[in-house]
Amino acid sequence: MEIIEILFTASFWAAAIRIASPLIFATLGELICERAGVLNLGIEGIMVAGAFAGWMAVYSGTGLWTGVCVAMLVGMAFGLLHSILTVPFGLSQHVVGLGVTLLATSSTYYAYRLALPEVTSPPKIEAFQPFEIPLLSDLPLVGPALFSQTPFTYLAFALAVVVSVVLYRTPLGLAVRAAGENPAAVAAQGLSVSAIRMGAVVVGSGFMAVGGAFLTMSAFDSFFFEMVNGRGWICIALVVFGSWRPGKALLGAVLFAAFDALQIRVQQTGFGADIPYQIFLMMPYVLSIVALVVMSRRAEVPAALMVPFNKGER
């Protein structure tokens, strides 16, 4: 009964939307890469790098939105590295992706230790504050849940719309989707498959880093090691769950975040107190695997995902 009550509180849905925001950014980023035909396993490390870069920029005195841009640029740099190795050189996307995650994570930790050698607990920044949208935020339940979030969250939802429109309504989007479905046809049109794929990976990686920055600049106000904690891998599952469509991926992220918000609240109820807390912490990962199994049967995987394209061979 308590669980039903939780589902009707505004604070629960507000938390769900907050938890979903970083996942939306990173899932959209991964989705763009995969639609163009490149699996980007660098996502976990790029989120770590973005979380640190955005936070560090603000801590050194830049504005919040400048911090977001810095995070995006750092993500794009790692995306460029990933795309050079996987697209023109056609190296294993699995190995390169894991390598980029290791490189991004370790260089972030290295930079953190160099920048703040003496601190025992990481300093805080003035993070994004909630912005109540006039009128809409007065609506019951939906108002506090959807329209009293930070501007960073609104950006996540806006980005989903933008990505969806660009992907399905513009020539650029068509080229990206075709690069992931039928690269030979793209090349026959006189377009460069490599350029499209590299562009998609660079931009997608930028979004992943912005997702990481959300953690340090809106969800929390500080940087911790291990703070990304597998969220990147969950986003890869969310892309599959959303059948490579931005709208469905957004829905998946919110649904997933709702479960996460629910488990945090159930832990505090009388019923939840008897269950080891680790069981609750496992739920997001278990849920991701279940989602993968359920969706696997009707997944519309981009046909050329993980298939390198080399003009020389047919």
């Binding site: 190795l85 190296l91 390598g99 370790s106 290295y110 680790q278 496992m282 993968l292």
Partner: protein
């Protein structure tokens, strides 16, 4: 204006120079990048590199430390090498390592009151089975439902570590552990003896070397090894040639999971004596680097593991002496991994502008 574009052209008969130059360049570039990073930390790059080498191989103590650190990496490196050869992407060696460690403390803390000669092999086999079983789940999800094993094995790492954490705070918690989430120590009979009396190196290292040879023989001399390679090279062609692809993938997974679990068995029985949540500082993930640097060759894994362990042990002591963060070691290895896969490709293909 002409657009810049390139393509890759296979080289029919690569010369010796062609086969050696790219890897050598990759190695030099890795060391150069590490030196530049050391300079950003305000240290002299030559003394940093010297300190890493000295810390890894400079004394008897240092060498033994490196060999001890290499032991779990040989197991996880073999686990990854075996799996990747068949293009089965097991990124879950970390979880399988903990499965082996878990079995070792569950059966090694008094449940089986047998002498060493009986209990050690039994626990070793149980550990292998536990690791194999853990990887069987993602393998079956792949072969039955087509679920990508990269994501499932990665997610299993998080799930299984939370499971271990739950056990260490619950049924497995050592009552004498002063409240720490730590298991009881295994019996003296379950400890792996030292290879040479008086030297701090346990038989886990010996088992690791033997495993590498066994895997090498399986890969080069057995039908299973041939089938695993065929599946890895071209799944469709292998199926067409009558190889039961799914069965081979499942067997590969069992072998890979078992090998990774041996790392956990060896760390508990040989070194630590009990199970804690920091038993492995990412040995499962580092195994991927080891396997790739070894070009997935089981004997190469031993050498690559010694190299990687040397960098870690050396960086630890360098960090204390030169005040450069130890994460320099991780950056070096990630750089080496990326540059080496590129270099290996460049030994067989040349870049052509068109």
């Amino acid at each position: 204006m002409k657009r810049w574009s390139m393509r890759l052209e296979p080289i029919a008969n690569p010369t010796l120079g062609r086969r050696l130059m790219p890897p050598a360049t990759a190695l030099v570039a890795t060391v150069t990048i590490a030196s530049l990073l050391a300079m950003t930390a305000g240290a002299n790059p030559f003394s940093v590199l010297g300190l890493i080498l000295k810390g890894a191989f400079g004394s008897k103590f240092a060498i033994l430390e490196t060999l001890n650190r290499a032991t779990p990496l040989i197991f996880t490196g073999l686990a990854v090498a075996v799996a990747f050869r068949a293009k089965f992407w097991n990124i879950g060696a970390e979880a399988q390592l903990y499965a082996g460690a878990l079995v070792t403390v569950v059966f090694g803390t008094g449940l089986l009151p047998w002498p060493s000669i009986a209990i050690l092999p039994v626990i070793m086999i149980l550990a292998i089975l536990a690791g194999a079983f853990l990887l069987l789940i993602p393998a079956l999800l792949k072969t039955r439902f087509g679920v990508d094993e990269v994501v499932t094995t990665l997610l299993f790492n998080f799930i299984f570590l939370l499971f271990i954490s739950m056990l260490l705070e619950g049924p497995l918690k050592d009552p004498m552990g002063m409240g720490w989430p730590k298991s009881a120590r295994v019996l003296a009979e379950v400890r792996l003896p030292r290879i040479v009396e008086g030297l701090r190196l346990h038989w886990g290292f010996g088992i690791a070397i033997i495993s590498a040879f066994v895997i090498w023989i399986i890969q080069t001399r057995s039908t299973l090894g041939y089938e695993m390679r065929a599946v890895g090279l071209n799944k469709e062609a292998a199926a067409f040639a009558g190889i039961p692809v799914n069965k081979v993938l499942v067997k590969t997974a069992l072998l890979s999971g078992g090998l990774a679990a041996l790392a956990g068995f060896s760390e508990v029985a040989g070194l630590k004596g009990s199970l804690t949540l920091d038993l492995s500082p990412g040995f499962g993930y580092t195994g991927i680097i080891v396997a790739m640097l070894a070009l997935l060759n089981p004997l190469g894994v031993v050498i690559a593991a010694l190299f990687v362990a040397g960098i870690f042990v050396g960086a630890d002591s360098m960090s204390r002496a030169a005040d450069v963060p130890t994460y320099l070691a991780d950056i070096m290895l990630a750089t080496a991994l990326l540059l080496m896969v590129l270099a290996i490709m460049l030994t067989r293909f040349r870049v052509v502008r068109d």
